[in-house]
C-alpha cells in the first residue's frame, strides 16, 4: 500500500460514496423501462452525446461491457461523469419519460456499466497506429485527460504535464467523496496511461515549465489548467478563515488531518460551499450555516444541491454579507455580518445586493470556511495568450491566440456552468481539432 492508499483507507464512512450501486436486477428493471428512443433527447442533452438509448439497451440485453464501450467511446471519463453529472439538467432532464414523472436513472445505469468494466480491469481502447506527431497537454483534469485519450486513440504521442502530485484535476482533488471517491478518478487516469499517454506530475506551467519549451518540443499544445485557487475575501480576520477548496481536498486525500468546529459558518453559495458545508456536517459539526449575500433565487447551486443540503441539516442565511471575522487569541469567536437587500440587476443579470445600513450582527461560530469560487487565469496573458474576463479566449476550433496552442475546460468556460462533462467534451473536440490541424500540416508538407 502506497502512502496515498494508506491515507485514503483512513477515510471515515460518513464521507464515503453516498449512492449505492444498482444491483443487477435493479439495473435490469430500470434498463427495461427505457423506451430506446430514436435520436433520443437524452443523447442530445448529454454534452458528450453518449448514445444513451443504446448503452441502456445493452444493459438490458445483459451486455454491461458493451454498454461501457458505448459510454466511453463518447465520454472517456464516463466513470466519473456517471457520478458527478448534474443529470437533472442534462440527460435525465431531457428524458421523454419526464412526461410521466419517472425519467430513467441514466447516471445510475451509466455507473452500473462503467463499474462493471473497471471492476474487471478491461482495456477497451488501443492507441491508434503511430502518427509520429507529438502533443503536449497541460493539466491532467477532465479536459486534459479527455484530450490526451482522444489524441492517443488517433495515434499521436501525448505527454500530459500536471502541477499536482496526482492526476485527475478536480475529480481527484475537488469533488467530494460522497459523490466521487478518489479511487474512481485515479482508475480513469490509469486507463488513460494504458493508452500510452505519458503523465508527468509535479510540473507547473509558468513555474518550472515554459510554454516556449513546449511549443518547441511538441507540435501542438493543449492548455487545460482549469481555474486557480480561491480568491481573497478581503475582510479583517481573513487569515483565520479555512480555504474551502483545500478543506474539500483534505476531506478526500487526508481526512485524518481535518479539525472541524462545533459551529461552522460557510461563506458562499455555489456547489463548493455546499460541498464544504456537507463535509463539516459529516465530520460532526453541530451546526453548519451557509451565508450568502444574495437570495435563494440567485444562488448558483442547483435546486437538487440545495435540497440535498437542507436534508443534511445545513442552515442557510441569505442576504447576509460577512464583514469581519472575530478572532480572539487565534481562536475564531464569530463572523460579523450585515444584512443585504436586492437592488437593480448587475452585469450578470442578477440583482445587485446592497447593505442595509446599521444592520450589523454577529453570527457566533468557532470555524469559518470560505468557498467563493476560483481565481481565473488572466495571468496567462503573460505567456502571450489572450484572455477575456479572465478566461482563455478560443475560437470554434479551440485555438487560442497563440499558434499551435489550443485550450479547453474550465479555463475557457466564460459562460455557462462549468462541469466535468463539459470539460470532457471540450477535450474530445479539441483533440479532433488538433488532429485536423496536424493532418493539414502533414498534407501540406507532402
Amino acid at each position: 500500500m502506497n502512502e496515498i492508499e494508506a491515507r485514503l483507507s483512513s477515510s471515515p464512512a460518513s464521507l464515503a460514496e453516498q449512492l449505492p450501486p444498482f444491483s443487477d436486477s435493479q439495473a435490469l428493471h430500470e434498463a427495461a423501462r427505457c423506451l430506446y428512443c430514436y435520436d433520443a433527447p437524452c443523447t442530445h442533452a448529454c454534452p458528450t452525446h453518449i448514445d444513451v438509448a443504446t448503452f441502456i439497451r445493452r444493459i438490458a440485453t445483459g451486455d454491461p461491457l458493451g454498454a461501457a464501450k458505448t459510454i466511453l467511446e463518447a465520454n472517456i471519463l464516463g466513470h466519473s461523469c456517471a457520478r458527478v453529472c448534474p443529470v437533472e439538467e442534462l440527460c435525465v432532464g431531457a428524458c421523454v419519460l419526464h412526461a410521466e414523472g419517472k425519467p430513467i436513472a441514466i447516471g445510475r445505469l451509466q455507473r452500473f456499466a462503467t463499474d462493471h468494466l473497471y471492476a474487471r480491469g478491461v482495456s477497451l481502447f488501443r492507441p491508434g497506429p503511430p502518427s509520429g506527431r507529438r502533443v503536449a497537454v497541460v493539466g491532467a483534469g477532465p479536459a486534459g485527460l479527455s484530450c490526451a485519450a482522444e489524441l492517443a486513440k488517433l495515434g499521436h504521442a501525448v505527454t500530459v504535464f500536471e502541477k499536482r502530485e496526482l492526476a485527475g484535476g478536480l475529480s481527484t482533488y475537488g469533488i467530494i467523496g460522497l459523490r466521487e471517491p478518489v479511487a474512481v478518478a485515479l482508475a480513469e487516469v490509469e486507463m488513460i496511461r494504458r493508452l500510452g499517454v505519458a503523465i508527468v506530475t509535479g510540473r507547473s506551467l509558468g513555474e518550472d515549465l515554459a510554454l516556449e519549451e513546449l511549443r518547441r518540443d511538441f507540435e501542438a499544445v493543449f492548455l487545460a489548467i482549469g481555474l486557480g485557487g480561491m480568491p481573497r475575501l478581503g475582510i479583517p480576520g481573513e487569515d483565520s478563515v479555512v480555504d474551502g477548496l483545500s478543506w474539500i481536498e483534505r476531506s478526500k486525500l487526508d481526512p485524518a488531518s481535518l479539525r472541524v468546529g462545533k459551529e461552522v459558518v460557510v461563506i458562499g453559495a455555489g456547489n463548493t460551499a455546499i460541498d464544504a458545508a456537507t463535509v463539516a456536517v459529516r465530520l460532526g459539526a453541530e451546526r453548519v450555516t451557509i451565508v450568502y449575500r444574495r437570495s435563494r433565487r440567485e444562488m448558483p447551486a442547483y435546486d437538487h444541491e440545495y435540497g440535498f443540503a437542507r436534508l443534511e441539516g445545513i442552515d442557510f442565511r441569505f442576504l447576509t454579507q460577512p464583514v469581519r471575522v472575530l478572532v480572539d487569541n487565534g481562536t475564531v469567536r464569530g463572523l460579523a455580518c450585515v444584512r443585504m437587500r436586492l437592488g437593480r440587476a448587475d452585469a450578470s443579470g442578477r440583482a445587485r445586493p446592497e447593505p442595509v445600513p446599521g444592520s450589523e450582527f454577529v453570527l457566533p461560530c468557532d470555524q469559518v470556511i470560505a468557498a467563493i469560487g476560483q481565481n481565473k487565469v488572466g495571468w496567462l496573458e503573460r505567456l502571450g495568450i489572450a484572455t477575456e474576463n479572465g478566461f482563455v479566449r478560443v475560437d470554434e476550433e479551440w485555438r487560442t491566440s497563440l499558434p499551435g496552442v489550443w485550450a479547453g475546460g474550465d479555463c475557457i468556460r466564460a459562460r455557462g456552468a462549468a462541469s466535468t462533462v463539459m470539460a470532457v467534451e471540450d477535450g474530445k473536440r479539441a483533440a479532433r481539432a488538433i488532429h485536423r490541424a496536424l493532418c493539414a500540416t502533414s498534407a501540406a508538407a507532402e
Binding site: Y36, Y38, H44, A45, E89, L90, G93, A99, R429
Partner: protein, 460 residues
C-alpha cells in the same frame, strides 16, 4: 351485477373460471383452497397411466425484465397414486357440490383401459371427464396425449370408446400441435363428445443457457422439447379457439372451454367473445396463486355491467361473426395514422419504425413547420432545454400512409396515435368480388396496374 353462472353442456358452475388440469389441481388441499378463493371449477391434474417425473421440470420465457411471459414444462401427468387421486376427487366433490369438478384422464390406448378409468372417475361423483389428447412430451412417446390428438382417427376411436361407457359429460382437450385443429375437433364431435377444450401446451424449446451451453431446463445434462403455455401463447390460442368455434361441424354442437395465456379478466373476456363457454387458467395461477380469481370474476362482471350484458350467453361467441377470410375483406376500407401532438412525448419510435421498416410516411417537423432529419441538432448544443425545446414533432403524411398500424403499435403513449378511418373514394370491393369481375387482375401485373390506375390506387 352480471350473472356469471356457467352452463357447460351438462356441467354447471357459479362462474366460468376453471383451473386447468395442471399442478394447481394436483391435490385436494390445493383445490379446496382454490374453491375457497372463488374458482368456479377445476379440472383435476390428469390421472391415468403410471409415470415418473424428472427435475428440472419447468423452463420459462422471461423478456426484458418481465418474468414468465410463458412457461415450458416437461412434466407428465399426475405421479400421485391413482387411488389417492380418486379418493381426494370424491372428497372435494362432496365438499363443493356447486363447483365444476372435472377429471382429466389419459391412459393406454386400449378400450379396456379407457372403460376402466371412466368407471373409476364416475365413482368419485365428478361432474365431467376431460380426455387429455394434448400432452406433447413423454406421454406422446408412449402413444398417448398428443399422439392421439394429432391423428383424427385415433381421436375419434378413443372418444367413441369413452362414450360407450360414460354417463357424465365428456370433454375432449385438443392439442395445438397440428396443422389444422378443426380435424381432430370434428373427429371428437363425430364420436359424440359433449364438449371440447383447447389449447393444451405448444411444442417448444425454451432456450439455451449461454453460460453453461445447456438446454433450459437442464435435466441432468440433457434437455428436450416441452409444452409451452402462458401469456405469450394467448394469440395462438385465440386463433385456434375461433377456428374451432366457427367450424360448421362444431358450432352449436358442443360447448368449448378455452384456455392458453389467460392472465386477467380482459383475456378471459376475449376468449368468451370468440366462442368459449368457460375458460381455464394454469400458468398465471402458477405465477401468482389462486388469488387472481378475484380480478377475473370482478373484472369480468364489471365489464359485462358496463356493456349491458346480463348473462354469459350474451357474450359467448359475440365476436365470431366478424371472422372472415382475407378474400372477403373490403379493399376500399382505408385508415391513416394520426398523431396527437399534445400527448406525443417525441420518442420518435414511430418515426424509426415507419421509416426503416414500413412506408416512410412520417416526417419530423420543427417549430417553423419545416421537415427536418433526425439528429440534425448542432453537436455543440446540449442540456435539457436545448434538447427538448427544439425537438421536432413527428407528423404523418396522411396521403402516403397505407394504414399498416405499425406506428400505432410501437407508440408507448396511450391514445397518442389513432388510426382514423378516411374515405378512400372507392366503392367497397373484396378480393373475391374483384377477381370474379376482373380475373386478370390476380394473374398479371399489367392488369393490376391498369386496375389501380382506373380506381386511383397509388402505391409508391
Amino acid at each position: 351485477m352480471a350473472d356469471l353462472t356457467t352452463r357447460f353442456g351438462g356441467i354447471t358452475a357459479p362462474n366460468p373460471f376453471w383451473l386447468a388440469s395442471a399442478p394447481p389441481t394436483n391435490s385436494a388441499r390445493q383445490v379446496h383452497r382454490a374453491f375457497e378463493a372463488g374458482w368456479g371449477g377445476a379440472v383435476w391434474k390428469t390421472i391415468g397411466a403410471p409415470v415418473l417425473n424428472v427435475a428440472n421440470r419447468y423452463g420459462a420465457w422471461h423478456w426484458n425484465g418481465q418474468k414468465m411471459l410463458a412457461i415450458n414444462n416437461v412434466e407428465l401427468i399426475s405421479d400421485r397414486p391413482l387411488d389417492v387421486n380418486l379418493r381426494e376427487i370424491a372428497e372435494v366433490k362432496r365438499t363443493w357440490p356447486d363447483r365444476a369438478v372435472i377429471v382429466s384422464a389419459m391412459v393406454e390406448s386400449t378400450r379396456e383401459a379407457w372403460h376402466d378409468i371412466v368407471a373409476r372417475i364416475e365413482d368419485t361423483g365428478a361432474d365431467g371427464i376431460e380426455l387429455n389428447y394434448g400432452c406433447p412430451h413423454g406421454m406422446s412417446e408412449r402413444g398417448m396425449g398428443s399422439a392421439v390428438g394429432q391423428v383424427p382417427e385415433y381421436c375419434e376411436r378413443i372418444t367413441a370408446w369413452v362414450m360407450e361407457r360414460a354417463s357424465i359429460p365428456v370433454i375432449v382437450k385438443l392439442t395445438p400441435n397440428v396443422t389444422d385443429i378443426r380435424w381432430p375437433a370434428r373427429a371428437a364431435v363425430r364420436a359424440g363428445a359433449n364438449g371440447l377444450s383447447l389449447i393444451n401446451t405448444i411444442n417448444s424449446i425454451v432456450g439455451v443457457d449461454l453460460d453453461t451451453l445447456r438446454l433450459v431446463p437442464d435435466i441432468g445434462g440433457k434437455g428436450g422439447h416441452g409444452g409451452y403455455a402462458g401469456p405469450a401463447v394467448k394469440p395462438i390460442a385465440l386463433h385456434l379457439l375461433s377456428a374451432v368455434a366457427s367450424d360448421p361441424e362444431v358450432r352449436g354442437a358442443v360447448p368449448i372451454s378455452g384456455m392458453g395465456g389467460i392472465a386477467s379478466w380482459r383475456d378471459a373476456a376475449e376468449f368468451l367473445l370468440l366462442g368459449a363457454t368457460s375458460v381455464q387458467v394454469c400458468t398465471s395461477v402458477m405465477h401468482w396463486g389462486f388469488r387472481i380469481v378475484e380480478d377475473l370474476v370482478d373484472g369480468l362482471s364489471r365489464w359485462m355491467d358496463e356493456k349491458g350484458f346480463a348473462t354469459l350467453d350474451e357474450v359467448v361467441g359475440r365476436a365470431l361473426p366478424q371472422l372472415a377470410a382475407f378474400e372477403d375483406f373490403d379493399l376500399s376500407f382505408r385508415t391513416v395514422a394520426r398523431i396527437d401532438p399534445e400527448r406525443c412525448i417525441r420518442c420518435d419510435l414511430c418515426w424509426v419504425a415507419c421509416n426503416d421498416t414500413a412506408h416512410q410516411c412520417i416526417d419530423l417537423v420543427d417549430a417553423s413547420g419545416q421537415v427536418v432529419q433526425p439528429r440534425s441538432w448542432d453537436e455543440g448544443s446540449n442540456g435539457k432545454r436545448q434538447a427538448t425545446e427544439g425537438r421536432p414533432q413527428p407528423r404523418v403524411r396522411e396521403a402516403d400512409c397505407v394504414g399498416c398500424r405499425l406506428c400505432y403499435n410501437v407508440c408507448p403513449v396511450e391514445d397518442c396515435i389513432r388510426m382514423v378511418e378516411v374515405d378512400s373514394g372507392r366503392p367497397a370491393v373484396t378480393w373475391a368480388e374483384l377477381v370474379r369481375e376482373r380475373p386478370e387482375v390476380g394473374r398479371d401485373w399489367q392488369a393490376m396496374e391498369r386496375y389501380r390506375r382506373d380506381v386511383g390506387i397509388d402505391i409508391h
